[in-house]
Subunit: 198 residues, 2 copies
C-alpha cells in the first residue's frame, strides 16, 4: 500500500536484527523527513562498510587497514592473546582500559544448533599465533556455545602448543550482583573459582 520505493526501504530495515514491521516503517518514514544530503551520506556509509572495511590479517578484528590499530600498536603485549567471538567484544574490553595485550576474533562460536563447526571459525590462525605467545585467555561467553568453544580450544591448544598457558576468564557474580538474584550455575562458579584474599 505504501509507494514502491518506501516499501523497499521498509524491507531492508526489516533485515536488521530485532526489527519488526512497525519499527521498519518508523525508520523508513523518518528517512522521508531527513535532508537529502544526510540520506546520501547514510547510503554512502553503508557501501563504505563493504568497500573499506576488512578483517585484520593477524587477529580478525574489523579494520580499514591490513592490520588493525591494536595489532599495529607496538606498545601492546603481543605475547598475550585475548580470544573473543566477535569484534564488538574487542570494543567492550578496550573500554575497560585494563588490557594491554592483543586479541583474536573467532568470528562466531562452535554451535550445534546454528550448525557452526570449528572449521567455520578463525582457529587455524590462532594456533599459529599461540606458538609464540605466553598466554591465551579464552574469553568466549559463559553460554553453552561459549563454554563448548572454550573447551574445544583449550584441548586443541594443549595438544598443539603445550608451552602456552591457557586461561579462561573468571565466571562469577557480576559487579553489584546479589547472591539471592544469581542463578545456581553462576553461584556454583563463584564458589569454585573463589580466590584467596589478603
Amino acid at each position: 500500500m505504501y509507494p514502491k520505493s518506501l516499501q523497499e526501504l521498509i524491507e531492508h530495515f526489516r533485515r536488521l536484527p530485532g526489527v519488526g514491521e512497525k519499527t521498519a516503517e518508523r525508520y523508513a518514514l523518518s528517512v522521508t523527513d531527513m535532508e537529502e544530503l544526510d540520506v546520501r551520506e547514510f547510503a554512502r556509509a553503508l557501501v563504505n562498510i563493504k568497500e573499506k572495511l576488512t578483517r585484520c590479517r593477524i587477529c580478525g578484528n574489523l579494520s580499514e587497514a591490513e592490520e588493525c590499530s591494536i595489532c599495529s600498536d607496538n606498545s601492546r603485549n603481543k605475547k598475550l592473546i585475548f580470544v573473543v567471538q566477535s569484534a564488538k567484544d574487542v570494543l567492550a574490553m578496550e573500554k575497560t582500559n585494563e588490557y594491554r595485550g592483543v586479541y583474536h576474533v573467532l568470528n562466531g562460536l562452535i554451535s550445534s544448533s546454528k550448525g557452526k563447526m570449528p572449521e567455520d571459525l578463525n582457529i587455524e590462525d590462532l594456533l599459529k599465533r599461540a606458538e609464540d605467545a605466553e598466554e591465551v585467555i579464552l574469553a568466549t561467553s559463559t553460554t553453552m556455545d561459549g563454554e563448548t568453544t572454550a573447551m574445544y580450544l583449550s584441548k586443541l591448544l594443549k595438544e598443539q602448543c603445550p608451552e602456552v598457558l591457557v586461561t579462561r576468564i573468571a565466571h562469577g557474580l557480576p559487579s553489584g550482583g546479589m547472591l539471592d538474584y544469581a542463578d545456581e550455575i553462576t553461584l556454583a562458579h563463584a564458589l569454585s573459582d573463589r580466590r584467596r584474599m589478603g
Copy 2:
C-alpha cells in the same frame, strides 16, 4: 575506537527514531555480515526515497507520482476529506477498509514544545480543498498537540468554509494514543463515531 567507516555507519543508524548507541552498533555490525549486493541495494533504497518519493500535490501523501494512488482513484469520494498528521496514518486507515473518501496529510501538528506553528503545516491547501467538500474529518491524534491542531482547524474551517461539515474522529482511540499503533477495529470505530465539532 571502531574503524572510521563503521563508526560513521553507527552514527547514521543513531539518527533513526528510538535508536541508541548499543542498537546502532548492533545494526552496523550486522551490515558487516550482509552480502555486498544486499548492502548496495539497501543504500540504493535509501537514495530512492529522496529521488523517487515525493508528496502528492493534492493531499500531501507520500507518492511516486504527482498525484497519489488515492487522489487519482475515481471511485473515492472526493467530497469527504480525512485529515491526518502523517503519511503513515493514511496507511493505518486504509488497512481498515472502512473508508472510501480521500485524505489530507498535514505533515505534523501544531506544537508549542516542538516550535511547530500553523504555517509549518499543509493547511492552506486544506482550506482550498474544503471549499468543495461536504465533510472534513479531523483525525489528528488524541494527544495534546493533536487536539490543539483539531481545535485550530475546526475554528479556521468554520470561519472560511462555513458550508462544510467539520467532524472529529471519536475518542474510540485511547487517550494519548497514536493512530499508527491502534488496531483496525479501534480505528474503524473512531471513524463511525466521529462527532460534529463547534
